[in-house]
């Protein structure tokens, strides 16, 4: 794919930089969902304590807060490394989008992180120091701080997928924010936030249920396990249903602004009307993709080839072919170079520069296409997108059924099915299924991000900047070294966290 590039960039630099960013992001995302998910669960448990004044609930809440704390501590600063990579490996990108990216990340650091770190101290240290009401508020505000952090990070990521609220300044070579509200409240960001956070609550639920099943299997701390499982399963079920609903909305947003990503997710090469939804190749639900993408069973959904060759959308808008976009992109880049040259030309009275600026602005929408040599370069990896999407949705559906089953067994309803089943007296393999669903939940969660980020390829910013224009002119050897450094560091830290977490679970609650 990169053979046709005529530049000094080592093609390996691009791929290793992408791999390094993916490794760091995947590792960071191992900790964030459990933080967000357990925050809800421990908040509910402490609320039970506040309402009942029952010491059982206080001890239970403290136990889950300990597990939250372990995960929180291990996850701290793992996201910072991503920002280092922006500055070193993706310097063109960083400069190009710094005005936009910087704002949400700054707000995240100043508001959300300080909120989280302030109240987490009260949550851990304040049981005997503050009133029960203030302590409860601190527990919920810790989770809220983490959630607000997620908002701002997802605003930044959403902007990469759907750049809005900005204008390119050819003098500063930066996209400058013209509307903070448009960036912060982009409908793409709102959908992404709702879906990402609800998926994180699923992780909290599945972790809680899995750990509780371990206690039931060991026949210890049964009361804590049962009561915690009720909360974990309820959170998990509500979250799973919400994740499905918000995922549907997110997919509709993708259909509107990233049609190539949707085509890749569905391995849809030739689109049309009345398009079915593939479960796997050869099995599909008739009309379902048309309905999901357009709310119309007969709606038009473009395939990969339609997007490459040009098509007309359902509302009559003509989407040019990729070849046409490439021409316009080249015009934009040529106009940019000419504009900057004219600006420095003392003989120009400004009229020549203004003419080039007009051409640039007229074609800026397709700026990134000026870097595309072969139109097939704009097709993301279809197999990865197709299967990652199915893993995510399949496991998500499985979790709806699983949490519903757990609740049915806990509450022994309906009686004719579950009336005589004792959840504390099941064969061990039953509990092992629940325990093994914990890593499956993480796999589904990471698969969602694979869809989001692989589906965006080759763009670092959709339609504006492909990876090979965004990457720094580095030697690939330096990127390879840090990639393997991270691999060793992350593997070590993950092993340490799992070890500490397992020790604490084995120790159990201090009831």
């Amino acid at each position: 794919m990169f053979n046709q590039l005529i530049l000094s960039i080592d093609a390996d630099t691009i791929d290793w930089s992408r791999a390094q960013f993916a490794l760091t992001a995947i590792y960071h995302w191992l900790f964030v969902p459990l933080t967000l998910g357990l925050a809800v669960i421990m908040g509910i448990m402490e609320t039970c304590y506040y309402r009942t004044k029952d010491q059982f609930w206080k001890d239970t809440a403290i136990f889950w807060q300990k597990l939250f704390g372990i995960n929180f501590a291990m996850g701290v600063a793992t996201g910072i490394i991503l920002e280092f990579e922006f500055g070193t490996n993706w310097s063109n990108y960083s400069w190009f989008v710094g005005d936009i990216f910087g704002a949400p990340l700054a707000v995240e650091g100043i508001v959300a992180f300080f909120m989280e770190s302030t109240f987490v101290a009260v949550m851990f240290f304040g049981w005997k120091k503050v009133s029960p009401g203030f302590h409860l508020a601190s527990t919920w505000l810790t989770g809220l701080g983490a959630t607000i952090s997620a908002w701002w990070i997802l605003v930044a990521n959403a902007w990469m997928q759907y750049p809005v609220g900005c204008e390119f300044n050819p003098d500063t070579m930066r996209n400058e924010m013209v509307s903070f509200a448009e960036v912060a409240l982009s409908p793409f960001a709102v959908s992404k936030f709702c879906h990402t956070v609800t998926s994180a609550w699923i992780i909290g639920g599945i972790f809680c249920v899995g750990v509780c099943c371990w206690y039931l299997m060991k026949k210890r701390d049964t009361k804590m396990a049962i009561e915690s499982m009720k909360i974990g399963a309820m959170v998990g079920l509500v979250a799973s249903v919400l994740a499905a609903a918000t995922g549907h909305k997110s997919a509709q947003d993708v259909a509107a602004v990233q049609p190539m990503k949707l085509a890749a997710m569905e391995a849809l090469y030739d689109g049309g009307n009345d398009i079915g939804l593939k479960i796997v190749e050869g099995i599909e639900v008739p009309y379902a993709l048309s309905f999901m993408a357009t709310n119309d069973f007969h709606g038009y959904v473009p395939g990969v080839n339609d997007i490459l060759n040009g098509y007309t959308t359902s509302d009559g808008k003509v989407e040019p072919s990729v070849d046409e976009k490439i021409e316009r992109g080249k015009k934009a880049i040529t106009a940019l170079a000419a504009y900057r040259a004219a600006k420095y030309e003392s003989s120009d009275d400004g009229s020549i520069a203004a003419a080039h600026l007009k051409v640039l602005q007229d074609n800026m929408q397709y700026f990134g296409y000026g870097y595309i040599k072969d139109k097939n370069d704009v097709v993301p990896p279809i197999a990865v997108n197709f299967w990652a999407f199915r893993v995510m949705v399949g496991v998500g559906c499985l979790f709806i059924a699983f949490f519903a089953l757990i609740l049915a067994m806990l509450y022994r309803w309906p009686k004719f099915l579950f009336g005589k089943r004792d959840i504390t007296a099941l064969p061990a393999w039953h509990y092992w299924i629940a325990i093994l669903l914990i890593p499956l939940g993480y796999i589904a969660s990471e698969s969602g991000w694979l869809v989001a980020e692989f589906g965006r390829q080759p763009w670092t910013i959709q339609d504006m900047l492909p990876t090979w224009a965004a990457v720094s002119d580095l030697q690939s050897s330096s990127v390879i070294i840090t990639f393997f450094l991270f691999l060793i560091l992350f593997s070590t830290m993950l092993a340490v966290e799992i070890n500490i977490m397992l020790k604490q679970i084995k120790k159990g609650p201090q009831l």
Binding site: I6, I70, N92, M173, I333, A337, S472, I481, T482, I500
Partner: protein, 73 residues
């Protein structure tokens, strides 16, 4: 000293909290080691500010040249 004052109570919260930590000490040790590795080793030796070292004062000009040249056939 006013032991009921906000500042004293805040100090006391953190002081007593850190003093009574058990698991927390291990976690804090991990956090501090991790922060040291990230900021004092990785950032300093492996993640320099690329534009600062390569572009000098004219970052816009450098990025413009990079972005134009990468589109050149």
């Amino acid at each position: 000293m006013n032991k009921r004052g906000f500042l004293y109570r805040t100090f006391d919260l953190y002081y007593e909290g850190f003093k009574s930590m058990r698991l927390g000490r291990t976690l804090w040790a991990i956090i501090l080691i991790k922060l040291f590795i990230i900021f004092a080793v990785l950032k300093v030796f492996f993640f320099p500010d690329f534009l600062k070292t390569h572009a000098g004062d004219d970052k816009a000009g450098y990025v413009a040249t990079e972005l134009v040249d990468r589109a050149t056939e």
